[in-house]
Amino acid sequence: MMHFMLLFSRQGKLRLQKWYTATAERDKKKMVRELMQIVLARKPKMCSFLEWRDLKIVYKRYASLYFCCAIEEQDNELITLEVIHRFVELLDKYFGSVCELDIIFNFEKAYFILDEFLMGGEIQDTSKKSVLKAIEQADLLQEEDESPRSVLEEMGLA
């Protein structure tokens, strides 16, 4: 089971964090800081796996963004790399050639996608299509919610 997933930039700014195990806020911060330091210090040609505390860290860099997952001892590193890649693909499909700024400004959307893809540290759906479909429909629902309000807004302005 995945313990957490972090997205952070080359400059060490956290862009996304998802914890699948209950962790105290203070420990989270400490772990994030420590991991960012370790991962950022690694050179590009190095392998994507680390042993850290009693977890295995799998990370991959996409452009300026690091995707970093912590998995358990028995978990498969290669499949975790695929999970990361699949998530990036989903983001890419959703935003249309995603960049770091998309994730910064629409961070809640990034979370929604992640939540449709993974749940409780396990892969929820292995099909890209069904994940995207779920997101789209949820978004549609949201727009239905919002559209009457914009009409009202216009009324208020008028």
């Binding site: 392998c47 590193e77 290669l78 979370y111 929604f112 892969i123 429909q137 949201q142 309000r149 302005l157």
Partner: protein
């Protein structure tokens, strides 16, 4: 109402939304904290408004700030408010915020139960989905208990979207509320066959996780999973299933066999590396774990992929340019190393190559592997390579890792792989030059250990340590290097304790009393002071021998001058030792001034050597009469009274303590197993003292402590290298040494071949040396009879060879003789065609009361015709019988498994069973064969001579054990005079040793005592005198008589 909405909308227009916040933060890089605090104030205002849209916006911003590390727990209630909004847009944000910010101790969570329940049963599947997702992050035991039923119902929801989420979240619920597992399990099992692949994979995920924790309960699902595995094409699911089987197979070995086919198919067909890796990992590693070696074997067999092949596959991974595969390959390799070390060892080159990798994680993995791969042969080479890396390594953590690994590798199994301890000491000394390592104490303890346990190395070690002490400033010069100064502790102690080996003790003494020493940590200073005193004693001893007494007095003065520095030390122990020694030296000086010789007495202070004591020594101290260790010293308090007073619950746990130690519970099997394990460990330990059973017997009868065997480990040091050693040179020296050995061996072989023994050369002929062929430079003498076969192989072989050689000579003679007597028959065979058989006693094996003797016979064809269909037959006696294959009659011959072209020789082995070994035996035999050209049957007669001597095994014996043996009175006496022997005494002894397998126990002038032991454990003791008379004692008089006759015969022939 409308106005309110309009007002809210206008307010919203001026609110910052999330994008504005993010942009704002990016624009205020300098005063980010200040900007954010104003934002938080704004958010607080927004949260006070009634408009849910405003609140949701505020909560969204808070979620972002939470990620940046700001505390937002104060807004927990507002988050709950947003969660309970009826609009999906806000609900979504609310649940997101909750999943990011809530944890088990958030108290508002209990307010959410009903809201979540409502959302779970919402007609809108996305409401339900969002609630489930959120819940998966912050589910508490209470929530799990209250909502378990609702979620269970959702597992059968009509929409697969809900079903898969419900199934996944059930795992979290099980963890928080285990009672829910039983009622939910049937439904979960159902989901394994759900028509929707997403739901199916979710169910597999959950059951796989559950099974990892407790595989036993899920065995019944194996058939179902088996079906899934063969039908599914989804790699994600397959990986999970394989993992699950990895957990199940150890419990149900039959499963392993069933899996082989589908797994093999997968391995061969899949293109996904992750799946392949999982298969290989599961098949060979998870399943190959020690508890089920038989299973692993069968798996390997069935898969027709021996571990070597698996390793081969891994090798491909490691050689891949992809660093990730390389890493995983090494990781898997290290797991295989535990079960199949041999198959991994052949890839040493590759592993060493990985040490050069740029990636530290890969290097560390390779290091782990190296630990298991070293052997006597490659240790130096590997360590040399590691030393190079130590020099190159950047970053102290990796270097420290290297250092500990080097020491681990060298010292594993009690220095099993070290053949040259000088080399090891040099390595340790080299390691002390590392900048800023934390492992000074580790190096120090190794130095101490080696110096104490390997006697022969002390001279060398002391020289090295003296140099270290002399250059102590190099180690301590830099405060950063404080860790390494621990080494000085070891250096000082070794120089003091073994000061007799010092070349220039005075210089070392001065080095140890330098003022700079006072800056060292207290415990090191204490050792310095104490050992300065030891050195002082040594110096005095050497100086008093001279006529000039002033030198000795000057030394005392030096001590008196320097010691006060330590008397002032803040460290109590330094102070105590220094003042004690200072007073002592002052007293000595006083005596010296009166011209009294004191050296003897001073060195008596430190006399006596620290010796390792045999581990079983305590056992050999007899228990005094009348002492019953099992009886109580004081009667235990009667249990009834205390138990009545104490409440039972408290007492129950402690009860076992009152009862006697439950030794009985460890059953015999377990004990035997442990014993075996211990023996194995001891056998691998070159410094472990093995008690010889013969002496043990004697000791048990002898009261008193003085016979506790004290270890004697003597190593011969062949070379001496002046100055600071470079470990490299040892690698070279070692190489040379081995080469020489090899050369000698070859020479011997050649000789042997000349002696018409080419058949036997086969074994040693092979180019690369085998591990056993390497003999340590520092030979460790171990008194042993108990050594398990594995470690004594080498020795045994040698013994065998000697035996053979001797036996052979005799046989030859015998045969010649024989030929002459039966000459007529043989000459008739063919002109000049004579084969010679040389029966060689090779190995003796105990098989209940009968003993097996293996006889090697070398057949050589001396004629120029091809010989075939050879049959070997011996006329059995009552005592000795040739072992024939089952079903053949007692007089059938054995077919010799080869044919002989002209001029070729070959060896065949025949097994005899022997009942009594106390009498020599002569067996008549015949060899029949067909000469190819004439195709006639020919016959050759021979005799096999089993002498009593051949049943003796050279066994070393200590003189005190020998004396006890003689005193014990169990042995019968006999004596013999050798007439007309005219050779030096030591030649005579050597002959007896060589021909009759004795060892010299002790030699005093004109007498020597010798000892040997039969394969049945008879002791044979000889007292040989220069006058060439032999007094002998043995517990079996017949055997003794025969052995003496044989000795006599040996000398009558020369």
């Amino acid at each position: 109402m409308a106005l309110k909405i309009v007002k809210g909308s206008i307010d919203r227009m001026f609110d910052k939304n999330l994008q504005d916040l993010v942009r704002g933060i990016r624009n205020h890089k300098e005063d980010e904290a200040k900007y954010i605090s104003t934002c938080i104030d704004e958010i607080k205002q927004e949260l006070k408004q009634d408009n849910i849209a405003v609140k949701a916006n505020a909560v969204c911003k808070l979620t972002y700030l939470q990620m940046l590390g700001y505390d937002v727990s104060w807004a927990a209630f507002n988050i709950v408010e947003v969660m309970s909004s009826s609009k999906f847009t806000y609900k979504r944000i609310g649940y997101l915020a909750a999943s990011q910010c809530f944890h088990e101790s958030t108290d508002v969570i209990m307010l959410t139960t009903n809201q979540i329940r409502k959302d779970l049963s919402s007609p809108n599947q996305y409401d339900t989905g969002v609630a489930l997702t959120g819940l998966s992050c912050f589910v508490t035991p209470d929530l799990a208990r209250d909502l378990a039923n609702d979620i269970m119902t959702l597992m059968s929801h009509t929409k697969p979207y809900i079903r898969k989420k419900a199934v996944l979240i059930m795992y979290k619920v099980f963890l928080k509320y285990p009672e829910s597992l039983r009622p939910a399990f049937p439904r979960l099992k159902e989901k394994l066959e759900d028509p929707d692949p997403g739901v199916q994979s979710a169910a597999v995920n959950v059951i796989c996780e559950l099974a990892r924790r407790n595989p036993k309960n899920y065995l019944s699902l194996a058939p179902l999973f088996f079906k899934l595995m063969t039908s599914s094409t989804n790699n994600w699911v397959l990986i999970k299933i394989i993992k699950l089987f990895g957990a199940l197979t150890p419990l149900e070995p039959r499963l392993g066999k069933k899996l082989i086919e589908p797994l093999t198919n997968l391995i061969h067909s899949t293109s996904a590396m992750s799946l392949l890796y999982e298969c290989v990992n599961t098949v060979y590693i998870d399943v190959n774990t020690p508890p089920l070696p038989s299973l692993s074997l069968s798996l390997c067999l069935y898969l027709s992929l021996p571990p070597q092949l698996c390793v081969q596959k891994l090798r491909i991974l490691i050689e891949d340019s992809d660093q990730n595969l390389k890493y995983l390959g090494l990781l898997a390799m290290s797991k295989i190393l535990k079960t199949h070390p041999k198959s991994v060892q052949s890839h040493k080159d590759l592993i060493l190559q990985c040490l050069d990798d740029k990636d530290e994680s890969i290097r560390l993995r390779a290091l782990d592997l190296l630990y298991g791969m070293v052997s006597k042969k490659n240790l130096m080479e590997i360590v040399k390579k590691l030393m190079l890396h130590v020099d190159k390594a950047e970053g102290t953590t990796y270097r420290d890792e290297l250092l500990t690994k080097i020491i681990d590798i060298c010292s594993q199994s009690n220095y099993q792989y070290i053949t040259n301890f000088e080399w090891y000491i040099s390595i340790l000394v080299e390691l002390t030059r590392l900048e800023g390592t934390r492992h000074g104490h580790l190096i120090a303890s190794q130095m101490l250990d080696v110096a104490i346990r390997v006697k022969a190395i002390r001279g060398f070690a002391v020289a090295q340590m003296a140099t270290l002490l002399d250059n102590a400033h190099l180690l301590t010069g830099n405060m950063q290097r404080m860790g390494i100064c621990e080494v000085l502790y070891a250096a000082a102690w070794i120089c003091g304790e073994f000061s007799e080996h010092l070349e220039n003790p005075m210089q070392t003494l001065e080095a140890m009393l330098r003022p700079k020493v006072a800056t060292l940590p207290g415990h090191i200073q204490a050792v310095y002071v104490q050992n300065a005193a030891k050195l002082f004693a040594t110096v005095l001893k050497s100086q008093e021998g001279n006529t000039d007494s002033t030198a000795a007095q000057e030394t005392s003065q030096l001590m008196i001058d320097r010691l006060p520095l330590f008397v002032q030390s803040a460290n109590l122990e330094v102070q105590e030792r220094a003042s004690c020694i200072l007073q002592l030296v002052k007293y000595i000086q006083k005596l010296q001034q009166k011209d009294v010789e004191v050296a003897e007495e001073v060195s008596a202070l430190f006399a006596g050597e620290l010796n390792p004591v045999a581990p079983k020594a305590q056992k050999k101290v007899p228990v005094p009469e009348g002492l019953d260790l099992d009886s109580w010293i004081n009667e235990p308090p009667s249990e009834s009274e205390s138990e009545d007073e104490q409440p039972k619950a408290i007492f129950a746990k402690e009860e076992p303590k009152h009862s006697r130690p439950r030794r009985e519970e460890v059953d015999e099997k377990e004990l035997a197993k442990r014993r075996e394990a211990r023996k194995q460990e001891q056998a691998n330990n070159p410094f472990y003292i093995k008690a010889s059973p013969s002496s043990q017997k004697v000791y048990q009868e002898a009261p008193g402590v003085e016979h506790i065997p004290v270890v004697q480990i003597d190593l011969s040091v062949p070379l001496k290298v002046p100055g600071l050693p470079m470990s490299d040179q040892y690698v070279k020296l070692e190489e040379e040494r081995r080469q020489k050995e090899r050369a000698e061996k070859k020479k011997k072989e050649k000789k042997k071949r000349k002696e018409k023994r080419s058949g036997r050369g086969k074994k040693h002929d092979s180019g690369p040396e085998s591990e056993e062929d390497i003999t340590p430079a520092h030979q460790v003498d171990i008194v042993t009879e108990e050594m398990p076969e594995k470690s004594s192989k080498h020795k045994k072989k040698k013994q065998k060879k000697e035996k053979e050689e001797k036996e052979k000579k005799k046989k030859k003679k015998h045969h010649h003789h024989h030929h002459h007597s039966d000459g007529g028959g043989e000459e008739a065979v063919q002109n000049g065609t004579v084969e010679e058989e040389e029966p060689l006693l090779t190995s003796l094996k105990n098989k209940s009361s009968t003993y097996q003797v293996v006889v090697s016979v070398i057949f050589e064809n001396k004629c120029d015709s091809f010989l075939k269909s050879m049959e070997f037959n011996v006329l059995d006696s009552l005592n000795s019988k040739l072992q024939r294959p089952e079903g053949s009659g007692p007089h059938d011959g054995l077919t010799v498994p080869f044919q002989l072209p002209p001029g070729v020789s070959n060896e065949a082995r025949f097994v005899f069973t022997v009942q009594s070994i106390i009498m020599p035996q002569k067996l008549k035999g015949t060899l029949t064969f067909i000469v190819k050209d004439s195709s006639t049957h020919e016959k050759l007669d021979f005799k096999l001579h089993f002498t009593c001597t051949s049943y003796l095994i050279t066994t070393p014996c200590y003189s005190d054990a020998f004396a006890k043996l003689l005193e014990s009175g169990d042995l019968k006496c006999s004596s013999v005079r050798l007439e007309g022997v005219n050779m030096p005494f030591h030649h005579l002894l050597a002959r007896i040793c060589f021909h009759h397998h004795f060892s010299v126990v002790e030699r005093i002038d004109s007498c020597a005592s010798m000892y040997s032991r039969s394969i049945q454990g008879h002791h044979v003791c000889l007292l040989v005198k220069v006058t060439v008379s032999i007094d002998a004692k043995c517990d079996e008089p017949t055997l003794l008589g025969n052995v003496l006759d044989e000795i006599k015969q040996t000398f009558s022939q020369c």
